[in-house]
Amino acid sequence: MTADLIHFFTTNWLGQAIVILAQCLAVTIPLLVAVAYMTYVDRKVWASIQLRRGPNVVGPFGLLQPMADGLKLLLKETIVPSSANGVLFIIAPMIAFMTALVAWAVVPFDDGWVIADINVGILYLFAISSLGVYGIIIAGWASNSKYAFLGALRSAAQMVSYEVSIGFVLITVLLCVGSLNLSKVVLAQSGWFFNWFWLPLLPMFVIFFVSALAETNRTPFDLPMSEAELVAGFHTEYSAMTFGLFFLGEYANMILLSALGAVLFLGGWMSPIPYAPFTWVPGIVWFAFKIAFLLFIFSWTKGTLPRYRYDQLMRLGWKVFLPVSLGWVVITAAVLQFGGWVPKL
């Protein structure tokens, strides 16, 4: 019986399809729950930074607040402006949400826990994250509204600029690993927590994190939706679940970039101390802790820093991060080559 089942799920194409579908659901559903509670945690963190209580009415400690918000968004009416481009107006939030989800296919949650263990995992993530900008541009254009369009233009320029430095950060990491496979990136960092790449590549880690803030349009780089000048930026005209999809996509992207940061710099599923009581903890728990740590810094920066001016944002991206990360790529390559640390393939 079990042999039959194993045979069905490993060789039959229907069985394989069922397995793949189950894997996707096993990633997507916890991710959506995490997104929902990320909004709650965000609001609680800002509240405590500003000496408030935050959401505390719906459910115990306000824990049902995300559910109430989600329900509200689902039940409201979706308004499509009469001058908007109908098809693209609806497609844009779908693209924004979808790109945030499909990237999770290559993220390794634990040793071997990955849907698609492909050889170009890092490039795949980079490609998918470069697609995220389309949801925003299309939204801004299809809305046929000046605020939305200005927000979309800002966002597109910003995301393209900071992607360049993220690209160089990824190159330094893959120089140290010798592979584009994310599982191998984690395995290359095995050992104590000071063996993880955050210490040897500390400047790159900082650049990566700041660029991640810019990629996800979070403060201090939230100019695309700076409410003081652009109403709500590219999603000004969106209501109900179309707005909800943008919102979910933004938070899913934040979690994704935190996961990427955990994989590239914080040793993925590795425990910080490679000895007995710590290694008993399942890898996915460590991975979740690391993601949560980075997400806390996301909320913390939002609660602390004021917004950048747009020219300052561009200066930081092109005149500071680009030369520094480019230089660091050269330095890393030289050190690996002449120090004899080129990873054995």
Binding site: V120, L123, Y124, F126, L131, V133, W141, V160, L180
Partner: protein, 204 residues
Amino acid sequence: MILQALAFYVFAFVVMASAAMVVVSRNPVYSVLFLILAFFNAAALFVLIGAEFIAMILIIVYVGAVAVLFLFVVMMLDINLTELREGFLKYLPVGALIGLVLLAEILLGLGVIGNTPTSLGALAKAGPQVLAIDNTRAIGRVLYTQYFYLFQVAGLVLLVAMIGAIVLTLRTRPGVRRQRISEQLYRPKGDAVTVVKVPTRGGV
């Protein structure tokens, strides 16, 4: 195998259809969006033949960067659609001619017409199936050794293009006050901040 063949036909059909839509669609923004769809499906075709590195680079470079700039420009332009349509029939013969030349080149290159031992089709058949190393590594090994000078020249061409673009667009306007970040950072603390001991209810 059937699934792969099916996937190939789906992707190939979408590539062709969206490429046609790039030419015929009325709105230039739609054209660019269809172009992006075509790039995407071309990348999927690369994945199907096992060239995952080129597939990803295609998406990163063309979809992630080039097409974004296209879309940017097209959205900012105020294009008169009827004016744009007028030249369509006039330039159709030229376009068709260019298309025919390109088709002939592809057929010659693949060795469908006039098969020579150096044609791409013949080379691909003769080459051994190398599955021992992934294709990122395979490309890296030839790109930085055998084709090193060509690679450098390609880089130089891009550098020239970049400098040209900067030279064309760089304007220095007199009388503009600029922010000098380094000056701001090097300003001594004494010039910028004064610490005042404020007595309670006294005010400054």
